[in-house]
Amino acid sequence: MTTQPPLVAQSIGAPEHAPTLGEVALHLENVVYRYPSITNAPTSLLAAKIAPALAGVTLDVRRGEYVALLGHNGSGKSTLARLLNALLLPTSGHVYVLGHNTADRSEHRAIRDLVGMIFSDPDNQIVATIVEDDVAWGLAARGYPLAQVHARAEAAINAVGLSAHKRRAPNELSGGQRQRLAIAGVLALEPVCLIADEPTALLDPQARVEMLGLLHTLNRERGLTIIHVTHLLEEAALADRIVILERGRIVREGTPTEVFADLESLRSLKLIIPELGVLGERLRALGVDIPPDALTPQLFVAALERLEGHYRQTQHGGAQ
C-alpha cells in the first residue's frame, strides 16, 4: 500500500514563485543507493568499502517545477534519475512519486507512466520504423483503445513539433529530431514528470537551443515537472531551482541567481564555467556589474545595455 509523504515538507531551496507550483510530485527521504556487485575482485569485502552512489539524499520537487541537476562525473545524477521512476530501488530511505512508494512493486506501472525518462542517445528508445508508430507503441503496449492511441500519439507529435515528419522513418531524422521523438513517446503517456538525463549532450548548438526551448515550453505551458540533468550551467540558468550533487550528496541548492553568485565554489565542484561566466567575472573585477547568471549571449547583452543606459544617465546627471 502507499504511504503519503508529508505534503508540508518543503526543502529550503524552494523557488520564490512557489505559489504557482502544485503539491509535492517527487519526494526523496534520506535515500541511499549502493550498486550491487560493483567489482570483479573475488572478495565482496572490497565492495562494502566502496562509497554508495547516493549517500543520503533528501529532496522535494513540486508539481510544475523545473529542476536542473548538476554534479561531477559519478556524482550520482543518473542514479538519482533512475530511482525516480523505479528503475532502481533505494538501498535505504524512501522515494515517493505523487504519493506512490517506489518500494511497492505493484505501483511500478503507475510510477513509470507518471515519470517518463529520456537520455542522451535517443536511438536506444526508438522501436518502430515510422515516427507515428513509434509514439503509438507505448500506448498500444499498455492496451489503450485504438482511437485513444491515435489521438494521444498525434497530440504528442504536435507538442514536440514533429507533425511534418510523422510518416518518416526515425533514422531519416536529425539527432535533435530523434530526441524530440523520444520525448513524444514519453508525452503520449501523459506523465506528470519528465526526467531528461543529459538530453543535449550529443546535439549541435542549434538543436541544443531548440531542445531547451521545448523543455521550457512543456514546463510552462503544460505544467510538466522537469528534472534536467546537465553539465552545462548555461542550460541550468533558466531552471526554477538548481540542485548540485557531489559524491552522492546534495551540496548546493537554490535559484540560478543564488547558485551562480559564487562561481568559484562551482569550479571546486568540477562544474564547467561557461566562457560568458568567465567574462562576467573579469568584468566584475574591473568594476562592471554584470550579473553572474547572465550566461547566454541574449542575457549578457541585455545586461550590457542596462549598464550602458545607466552610465549614460550618470553622465547626464554629472554634467548638469
Binding site: 570483479n40 549541435d204 548555461e234 569550479r267 568540477k270 567574462l279 568584468l283 562592471v288 550590457l304 550618470t314
Partner: protein, 302 residues
C-alpha cells in the same frame, strides 16, 4: 601523421532501398602535427568521415591516405589495416561500443597488449592513461567492470584505452561530451602535452564551439555530407552567415560580440586575435566606461 582525403564519398546500404549518401565528394588535408576540428549538425557526416581515418569504414569512392597508407577499398589488406589501427587511435562517439573487457584494467591494457609490450610497460601505460583522463588507479577501481561506471566515467575509460596505445594520430569523436570540468581540463592538458612532445596529429569532432575555437588550428564544417567551410577558427567563426547556413552557431563569445554590435553597443574594434574572456573584458569595460572615465565605473566622480 598527415591525413589526405580526396573526393571521398560514402554511401550506407549501397544498392539497398535504405541507401543513404553520408559523404559527398569531400576533399581535405590535415597536415602532420595539426589539430583539426570537424563540426556540423547531427547527421552531417562527422562520424562517418572520422571512421575512415583508421579504416573502420572504407570509401565508396575517392581516397583516404593516412601517413602515406592508402585506406581505399581496393588496396586494403588485413596487415595494412592492422598497421593503420596501430598508428591511428579512434575514440568512438558511443564509448559503450568500445568497452568489452571484464575489468577496467583489462580494457585499457587491451591495446598495449596487442602491441606485444612487456607486462611492466603495459601496466605503466594503463596507469598513465587513466591519470590522463583523471580516473583513479587503485586496485579496487582497476578491478571494476567498465560497465559499472557512470556515463562520463565510461567515456573516460574508453579514451584511456585509445591513449594507452600511444598512437601518433588521434581521432576523437566527441571526446568531451558529458565530461565534467576536471576531466576536460586533464584531457586538454594531456592532448597539449602529446602534441608538444610527440607532434601528435589530432582530429576532434565536437559540438562545443568554444572548445573548438580553443583547441583547433583548423576547422572543417560539414553540412549534408559535404564540406562547406574550412580554415582557422578566427576566420571561420567570422563568417557568421555561412556558419548559420550550415545549421551551426558561432561560439557564445562571438555571438555576444555580434549581438552587442547589433544593439549599437561599442565592444571595441574588431581584431584578428582569438576571442577570449581575458582579451574581451578590458575592451568591454573601457568602451562602457571610457567616455565617462571621469565619473569612474561606479558612476562616481573620480
Amino acid at each position: 601523421m598527415s591525413i589526405v582525403v580526396e573526393h571521398l564519398s560514402y554511401i550506407y546500404n549501397l544498392g539497398a532501398p535504405q541507401e543513404h549518401v553520408a559523404l559527398r565528394d569531400v576533399s581535405l588535408t590535415i597536415p602532420d602535427g595539426v589539430c583539426a576540428a570537424i563540426i556540423g549538425v547531427t547527421g552531417s557526416g562527422k562520424s562517418t568521415l572520422t571512421q575512415h581515418f583508421n579504416g573502420l569504414l572504407l570509401p565508396t569512392s575517392g581516397r583516404v591516405i593516412v601517413d602515406g597508407l592508402d585506406v581505399t577499398a581496393k588496396t586494403t589488406r588485413p596487415e595494412h589495416l592492422l598497421e593503420l589501427r596501430r598508428r591511428v587511435g579512434l575514440l568512438f562517439q558511443f564509448p559503450e561500443a568500445q568497452l568489452f573487457a571484464p575489468t577496467i584494467a583489462d580494457d585499457v591494457a587491451f591495446g598495449p597488449r596487442q602491441l606485444r609490450l612487456k607486462d611492466k610497460v603495459v601496466k605503466e601505460r594503463v596507469r598513465w592513461a587513466l591519470n590522463a583522463v583523471a580516473l583513479p588507479t587503485d586496485t579496487e577501481f582497476l578491478a571494476r567492470s567498465p560497465f559499472a561506471l557512470s556515463g562520463g566515467q565510461r567515456r573516460r575509460v574508453a579514451l584511456a584505452g585509445v591513449l594507452a596505445m600511444r598512437p601518433l594520430t588521434l581521432a576523437l569523436d566527441e571526446p568531451s561530451a558529458g565530461l565534467d570540468a576536471e576531466a576536460r581540463e586533464e584531457i586538454y592538458a594531456c592532448l597539449d602535452d602529446l602534441r608538444a612532445r610527440e607532434g601528435v596529429t589530432l582530429v576532434i569532432v565536437s559540438h562545443d564551439m568554444s572548445e573548438v575555437a580553443h583547441l583547433a588550428d583548423v576547422i572543417f564544417a560539414l553540412a549534408g555530407g559535404e564540406l562547406k567551410l574550412s580554415g582557422p577558427p578566427e576566420e571561420v567563426f567570422k563568417r557568421t552567415d555561412e556558419i548559420l547556413a550550415c545549421g551551426l552557431l558561432p561560439p557564445p563569445l562571438a555571438q555576444t560580440v555580434a549581438l552587442a554590435r547589433e544593439h549599437g553597443l561599442n565592444v571595441g574594434a574588431a581584431s584578428d586575435a582569438p576571442l577570449t574572456p581575458d582579451a574581451l573584458a578590458p575592451a568591454l569595460a573601457a568602451s562602457l566606461g571610457a567616455e565617462h572615465a571621469e565619473y569612474g565605473l561606479n558612476g562616481h566622480r573620480t
